[in-house]
Assembly symmetry: C2
Homo-oligomer: 393 residues x 2
Amino acid sequence: MRPAFSKNIAGMSGNMIREILKLTQQPEVISFAGGMPPVDAFPVDALREISEMVFDKYKGGIFQYGTSEGFLPLREFIVTWMAEKGVKTELDEVLITSGAQQGIDLMAKAFLNSGDGVVIEKPTYLAAIQIFSLYGAEFVYGDADEQGFVPQSLRRAAGEKNCKLLYLVSNFQNPTGITLAGERRQELADLLSELEMVLIEDDPYGDLRYSGDNIKPVKSYDRENRAVYLGSFSKIISPGLRVGFAVGPKEIVGKLVVGKQLSDVHTSNLTQAIIYEFCAQGLIKPHIESLKLHYRKKCDLMLELMSVHFPPTATWARPEGGLFIWVQLPEGTVATELFKEAIKEKVVFIPGGSFFAGGGGANTLRLNFSNATEGQIEEGIIRLGKVMNKFMA
Amino acid sequence: MRPAFSKNIAGMSGNMIREILKLTQQPEVISFAGGMPPVDAFPVDALREISEMVFDKYKGGIFQYGTSEGFLPLREFIVTWMAEKGVKTELDEVLITSGAQQGIDLMAKAFLNSGDGVVIEKPTYLAAIQIFSLYGAEFVYGDADEQGFVPQSLRRAAGEKNCKLLYLVSNFQNPTGITLAGERRQELADLLSELEMVLIEDDPYGDLRYSGDNIKPVKSYDRENRAVYLGSFSKIISPGLRVGFAVGPKEIVGKLVVGKQLSDVHTSNLTQAIIYEFCAQGLIKPHIESLKLHYRKKCDLMLELMSVHFPPTATWARPEGGLFIWVQLPEGTVATELFKEAIKEKVVFIPGGSFFAGGGGANTLRLNFSNATEGQIEEGIIRLGKVMNKFMA
């Protein structure tokens, strides 16, 4: 049989990053590819105790159908959690999602007709590019520099195609690690109103800041309520539990709830309750502090080793947080070819071209520092440095 | 702000059934509305023990990202589970979903372009109608009688519009309770090949048979591999854990995996592992047997009380399994009006019109017998009988 797939999915195969991740499950391969926490960073004992408490406290109710909006105590917690980030929100503006990625999918479902434009950065989060493509979106690229998205470029971009949505990772962007500068955030929020656009502010990494001052979300400047903020517990508790949230105007959240009802009905009550109790018991903040110490140390180590072992023509910036270091190789260097040499030496990364919708970025690559051990970082950067020196000679 | 929502979601508000379910959370209201297990039917102690075992056995790994295809041991279990149902399948034909409903959504995402036709029964599962609508589907109605879908009607239906998909609930259909007759299943499977159509066989209730013989899924007759079978643990373990599965040709499952990656990445590992261990420890079959005893008793009780208290002009068939009794009122009786009277007497049901895409069925209603206690069934049917007798006098 040759099934007649929908036109948007027909040409799509698996996400290249997830395919690379499968490769890296071979032993001895040192992977800087994924964006995963290391297994030893999960608060397993605490989560185990919390889950026992959840069974005691909620009993059979936790196994029943829940509301599509999400587990009420967790939604209430999100209201206070956002308030601490400078975002005033109300209960009916909060939806619990099965990871922040589902928030992107639900926003696409709520807004996009085939052919509509979406403004994105180049490069940006690969799965977001793919999700929008699956709804038939066309891309318009705003400008970005080392201070992040350039607000005034939205003026030009919004005029092209039928652009309703702007998608940004505001803190420690994936893949570049760049953070949208504080002074640009108010300006951007004001422009949303002027241009009648909706911002998807994706912020899975914002709590993982290793240097510099915290910056309030764009959403906190959003007086006309035109931004939907997507948060996640994947990077600060566990990705395997699949719990995130969306915070936005209730009119939009109402449509996200319709989409949620019609995709997975609701996120698992058990995982929502575990996340809630972990937060409510006051375990989340000390856990984030310990993750920050842990990741900062790995980030520093990787940067230090890179400056020793990488060829001088490779350049990168020190990220202030998040999980990634973004490397620029000289023009003409092809990172996918470098990848083939690196896998022979059992060290892998993500070639940066994947993050460029519409092409480009062949000479870039993304390194993750959270998942490997310090020993693996040391050995892996030495291996990769050798491969790079040979490849780029 | 007036956001420009996508054309398919713009007119859609919450699912009527879930809105009714919110109403029924008032105390004293006896609800025959939902399709929920009763809270006391959940194997809470066993699930608690299983979850402790999951923490011991899988440790931190359970909190890490998993593959989009699903938790490997659970996928392997599904292969044997399907074999017992007469369906030979292989590992790469199995995808774990966040409930069977996600399987419908992913099938729609994989196949439907806006304007494509989907063949459905009238009436059929409300959320399926809404999911297909969200992808811009148009509906073509096959014929159905007390033996279920009439295979030869697919010949006519498939010719209308660009129909690629046929959606059926093959056992104890929601809302009618009707089961597709065994002798029609081979014929239907053969027609799929002839007409180059793909069947979505949604079977959340198939394990809950109270009388008659088990019938093998349509999928078991599907020699050319044109059917995707959707199964669920919602009705036989817990809906709140949100675990279901899709089994189909690997070419189709490959596209479902792409859609899954781009909607929620993967289903929670913890809930998948809990479901797996519950099954692997041999707890699933005795639990299904106990549910069948429990639900059969409630079904019999409700039917007996209905025959005493309902007006003689109301008719219904005895379902052989599942969760619902489908009631026909005389032509011209409007069940949504009856509903308004019933809620005053604190008893609720689902007016059947919701299940008819494109209108119709105003004189029908759906009663659920699984969720209420025996005492509530007794009191509720007496109340509803009084309301009906008065309303229909």
